[in-house]
């Protein structure tokens, strides 16, 4: 038996030389770290640094190729997540591991031991929800809940197993600022109870606020550890990327031109089962302006993108105008011919066809302009030149001269699909979530390109869930909530809290929606 003192000195969880290889690719290379009880330990790094792989190993979803895991000083071998849960390791997933068509109680029942009677579960859910101040209705079906509510299910599900170590993978990426505050309260309570937290995030402000230790990963290796409270966000970012990140340069004075893109009470019922109907969306976008649309995912942003890009036609032709010409009932190619360009959210499969080469992908969106086609035939020579131009201008890193799109990393493919549209010098660019899951350096390149495009007189409509991004480059910001768009706010005059309130639908003051 260990004495109490030994118990405290022994880390709750130790990783010793963890290596994980997928074929010839090494996702984790010799990673060691210790987590003690009551400690909030941050795991930070760029996309592709190996954070998710590492926590999947701790949760028993992946087997390490080499190395060992010690739990309270004893070697732990996990054969699946049930065993991790039995040992006291819980996980809150980034992309929720929930079932849309099951109720809250059913979702939770699935991870509890099989002898838990379903009837007793309701009481225990309500008890946890009260103790940690996380309102939950056991009988609601998950599809009808917001991202914040869904996350509460994940956390409640995790807590019902009384875990000693809780892994949180990017928990705030889909939350409003207010929901994130509520989460931090809950996490502080858990820490006070002596539970250890392993917190994955690339939001460095959060890490500095919550965690007392941090492990920094870069390209699968541990490049250092630190006390994030002693660091600035800037120094943490430099540790993560391995180089300083450039600030975005915005022009000091801006001159706005005439109205380029106009939406006039655009309403459109959703085609999806759990989709959102657009309800009287109006906006006027001037030349030289970057207009941001904020909002929690699933509040009609994708529906708005579909309607503006022409993937779905509006009922009335006059509800959408490009440079004064009514285009609501005209297709994508017609809108592109008028000088608009579009970059959808999903880069692989929507913005680009994975198995097509970069040249072919260039043709997919620019076929009707630039003289790429004549009499139904493709001018491949010209397409190749244009693709190489995009690759060079946007520093797209790739293997081979013209590889298939799916072989590029997320950031590089995103630079390609954004560059493809920007180099056609559009008068209007509509872009959805341009830096989601993109590393910091590529994100900076893309944001700079958007600012530069606007400086040349174009209108940029930027749909994003990343408030930092919106405040960094937008002139005006409006918020989508349940299919309605708020009045636009001047990005320099409005605060994050005001935008956050609009995101929850509570913005009664300056942000009454337009109709």
């Amino acid at each position: 038996m260990m004495t109490e003192q030994e118990r405290r000195a022994t880390p709750l969880l130790s990783l010793r030389g963890i290596v994980k290889r997928f074929g010839s690719f090494t996702a984790n290379d010799d990673i060691s770290l210790d987590i003690h009880e009551g400690e909030a330990h941050a795991l930070i790094g760029e996309n592709g640094a190996g954070k998710s792989t590492l926590v999947k190993i701790i949760y028993g979803l992946l087997e390490p190729t080499e190395g060992e895991i010690l739990f309270r000083g004893k070697p732990m071998r996990l054969n699946g997540p049930q065993e991790a849960r039995a040992q006291g390791v819980g996980m809150v997933f980034q992309h929720f591991s929930l079932f849309d068509n099951l109720t809250v109680a059913e979702n939770i029942a699935l991870v509890l031991p099989t002898d838990t009677p379903l009837s007793a579960l309701r009481g225990r859910i309500l008890e946890v929800s009260e103790r940690y101040r996380m309102p939950l209705d056991p009988d609601r079906e998950v599809w009808s809940l917001s991202a914040g509510e869904r996350q509460r299910i994940e956390i409640a599900r995790c807590l019902l197993q009384d875990p000693r170590l809780i892994i949180l993978d990017e928990p705030t990426s889909v939350l409003t600022p207010q929901e994130a505050e509520a989460l931090f309260d809950t996490l502080a309570r858990l820490k006070a109870e002596g539970r250890a937290l392993l917190y994955i995030s690339h939001k460095l402000e959060e890490v500095r606020r919550l965690c007392e230790t941090a492990t920094i990963l870069r390209l699968g290796r541990k490049v250092g550890g630190c006390d994030p409270r002693q660091e600035s966000s800037r120094s943490l970012a430099a540790l993560m990327v391995g180089a300083a990140i450039n600030d975005i340069k915005t022009p000091s004075t801006r001159a706005f031109g005439g109205e380029r893109l106009t939406l006039d009470s655009l309403s459109l019922p959703s085609r999806e089962i759990h989709g959102v109907d657009l309800d009287g969306v109006s906006l006027r976008l001037r030349g030289g302006e970057v207009f941001g649309i904020a909002g929690v995912a699933g509040n009609g942003q994708s529906e708005l993108f579909e309607a503006v890009s022409g993937e779905r036609l509006a009922d009335a032709n006059e509800t959408i105008r490009i440079d004064g010409a009514a285009v609501g009932a005209r297709d994508i190619t017609a809108r592109r011919a008028l000088g608009a360009a579009f970059v959808p959210e999903e880069r692989n499969g929507h913005a680009a066809a994975g198995d097509f080469s970069l040249t072919e992908n260039l043709i997919l969106s620019r076929h009707s302009g630039d003289g790429l086609t004549s009499r139904g035939l493709i001018n491949f020579e010209k397409a190749r030149t244009l693709a190489q131009q995009v690759i060079k201008t946007f520093d797209v890193r790739k293997a081979g001269p013209d590889p298939a799109a799916r072989t590029l990393s997320g950031g590089n493919l995103q630079k390609f699909v954004v560059g493809r549209e920007i180099l056609s010098e559009p008068k209007i660019l509509v872009i959805n979530q341009p830096t989601w899951g993109v590393d910091a350096a590529a994100a900076a390149t893309i944001r700079q390109a958007l600012v530069d495009l606007a400086a040349r007189g174009a209108s940029v409509l930027l749909i994003s869930q990343d408030l930092d991004e919106l405040f960094e480059i937008c002139d005006r910001i409006a918020v989508m909530h349940e299919g309605r768009l708020s009045q636009p706010c001047d990005a320099r005059a409005v605060t994050r809290e005001e935008i956050g309130l609009l995101m929850t639908g509570d913005g009664s003051g300056g942000g009454a929606h337009a109709h």
């Binding site: 028993g60 979803l61 992946l62 087997e63 699946g80 997540p81 049930q82 849960r85 997933f93 929720f96 591991s97 929930l98 079932f99 849309d100 068509n101 099951l102 059913e106 029942a109 699935l110 991870v111 099989t114 379903l118 089962i273």
Partner: protein, 307 residues
């Protein structure tokens, strides 16, 4: 209408509906786990051939039914191996299974063509079975009918109340999440596929043991496809399968009577009525606002576990 005729008509409706109920309830379980097995017709006709062969050789209806079940399960196991084991496209594998089953049943059943045996026994409870109007209908059916209704009740309870049923529905809703929680997606799907095969095999055996007590190649005549359509018609809810099957059975019986009454319409056209009715019902159902709302979200998607 005399009580005799009234009962007779209703009983033919139930008899026509029973194989559909059996095959549909099995496919419903398979689909709720996220597997789309389009090979119901193939599993069913194998069940018909093997069921008749087993019963004829042994002289026992029970052994025949068991042979039908095992034949359906063997076909389902093959399908499961391909689609769950090797993650082959489920639509292609299902169509292949139907073609394979049709051919194999013709080959294996060749020696049994033209042979006849007695219909399987019907229940008889003295007193109750002789009640006017409903006695024979409720208490005098063959045993398959009671098994079919029992299965529907059992499946309805299993899916909504039991823990394993919950895990099965979860697997069909989101296999990535199910895997992340440590549920065995592939085992669950394989077992659900086997259950579907067993039910389809029993449905086939019903045709040769109770419906028409002889075997002829191709005798399922598209019932496997109707069973697939009924699952959609039922919005993946067990009791609605019964409703759909009775509607289809009713249309079948109605057109038989219409043919007998000779309205002057070609018989082929009247034979098509039940199938047309199914298509119309499906179109009407799918045009609603919550289109396919009840479909398992992961239906037809192959799952490959990263390890």
């Amino acid at each position: 209408m005399t009580s005799e005729l009234f009962q007779l008509v209703l009983m033919t409706v139930v008899t026509a509906a029973t194989p559909l109920i059996l095959a549909s309830i099995g496919e419903l379980v398979t689909e709720r786990a996220g597997v789309l097995n389009l090979g119901v017709e193939g599993m069913m006709i194998m069940g018909a051939a093997m069921g008749f062969a087993g019963a004829y050789s042994s002289g026992s209806t029970a052994i025949g039914a068991l042979c039908g079940i095992l034949a359906g399960m063997a076909m389902a196991a093959l399908f499961g191996l391909l689609t769950i084991g090797f993650a082959i496209n489920q639509v292609a594998a299902g169509l292949a299974l139907t073609i394979f089953g049709t051919g194999l049943s013709g080959l294996l059943g060749a020696g049994f063509v033209g042979l006849k045996r007695d219909r399987s026994d019907q229940l008889h409870i003295p007193g109750l079975s002789d009640l006017p109007y409903v006695g024979q209908l409720v208490f005098g059916e063959d045993l398959f009918v009671y098994v079919a209704f029992g299965l529907v009740a059992g499946v309805a309870w299993f899916l909504s109340r039991s823990r394993t049923g919950l895990a099965l529905r979860a697997t069909g809703d989101n296999h990535q999440s199910a895997h992340a929680l440590g549920l065995s997606v592939r085992r669950m799907r394989f077992l659900a596929t086997l259950f579907g095969g067993a039910c389809a095999g029993l449905a086939g055996a019903y045709l040769t043991l109770a419906y028409t007590p002889f075997w002829s190649p191709g005798m399922t005549a598209g019932r496997g496809w109707i069973a697939l359509a009924l699952v959609v018609f039922a919005s993946w809810k067990p009791w609605r399968v019964v409703l759909g099957a009775l509607l289809f059975g009713g249309a079948t019986v109605l057109q038989l009577h219409a043919q007998a009454a000779a309205f002057g319409l070609p018989g082929q056209l009247l034979s098509a009525v039940p199938y047309l009715a199914t298509i119309v019902a499906l179109v009407l159902l799918s045009s609603g606002a919550r289109k396919n709302a009840a479909a398992p979200a992961a239906l037809g998607q192959a799952f490959i576990a990263p390890r």
